[in-house]
Symmetry: C2
Subunit: 250 residues, 2 copies
Amino acid sequence: MDTQEINKIGTYEFTVEPFHADFQGRLTLGILGNHLLNCAGFHASARGFGMTSINEENYTWVLSRLAIELDDMPLQYEKFSIRTWVENVYRLFTDRNFALLNKDGRTIGYARSVWAMINMNTRRPADVATLHDGKLAEYVCPEEACPIEKPSRIKVESQDPVTSIVAKYSDIDVNGHVNSIRYIEHILDLFPLEYYKELRVRRFEIAYIAESYFDDELFFYKDRLNESDYAVEVRKANEEVVCRSKISFG
Amino acid sequence: MDTQEINKIGTYEFTVEPFHADFQGRLTLGILGNHLLNCAGFHASARGFGMTSINEENYTWVLSRLAIELDDMPLQYEKFSIRTWVENVYRLFTDRNFALLNKDGRTIGYARSVWAMINMNTRRPADVATLHDGKLAEYVCPEEACPIEKPSRIKVESQDPVTSIVAKYSDIDVNGHVNSIRYIEHILDLFPLEYYKELRVRRFEIAYIAESYFDDELFFYKDRLNESDYAVEVRKANEEVVCRSKISFG
């Protein structure tokens, strides 16, 4: 790997904190998601296209899709690392991939994310490819493998919500929206503890469709697709779809 | 400050991550609590009386009380640091204090915590003072000031819960209990967003009384003590008190 290639990929080290481990002592998927998005931020900032720099030009990154596939999850107090790189830059989207490495440096999972850039005033999509005089394209690293499927199209048939929650103070981020990680946690909370005892989440996908806000009541619709797979749709009281997710236990 | 004194105090550096900031862009109190408890762990582990070492001898630390008092809170992406030290060691408890320093190194808050040690088999309290041949006493640092009131006795009169929640997967820690930080978040979620817009949490206290578990329904009782202060009690369906908290807005 030459220097240029190293510069395309960012590697970040973590340790599983006690409150970031679930009842099985393993890192929770919500916290992993949080770390992935932080790494996206670290990587982009260090290369001049992070949130702070594009905010100055009145643009912001919006996470559109995230898919995580795991063979294993690090345990409480274990070190692990996350590698991230840009796979593609299109006009309206960019694909960013991740690898999760355990304490021994072995890859135990991958993730794919799709991001749009919007103009903060108009809320309209902006042209990612021309950002920074096309600088983002310089970091594209298609040669790095990410051997998991791309985020799929998720459809939920159920018309009866399994539960609802009201968005609270702790759900809301600096933009006034329910934060992306909280949706993951609320969706994982739809499953009984037995699922996490006997199985593990092998793949988790989420597509973010609309924002929700403080005091919004969010309704969760859940389809069982087969023995191990579930699809979940989150809707507001007015039926607007907020996000869709697919969870594969295995 | 001589070397011995420096060794009594641990200092740990952090940055406010995007998902750790609330809608005002300030670090949330729940995440601050998480960092404080992590620092307690770092400090204790580095001195031979951390969770991992005492677990080997079949003991575990149990957080009994936490009081946090703040003049300010760091903003998203800002650096801050936490200093922690042991103030007292009694037979059944130890007092650990904290200072919160902003990016410029100015102290912007303090916290006090009270910990018990229990035998993991009998669940009975153990003698903290004799732990490690009394080694914990060597680190006692009463000369370091913590100019905030000790945790108080909290009483809640209300007999009508304002809300209830059912403990979910994301609430549960590696011991199978609802984790200490989640209670803080659920308690802060009892207040409307306007409180956090116009005021800030000046002081937050919590006393942990009993454990709760997956699927427990937790009922929240809230007294308004005066213009700015609230007391909250969390009880199970069988009326058992899980924790009590006092929140002062200002």
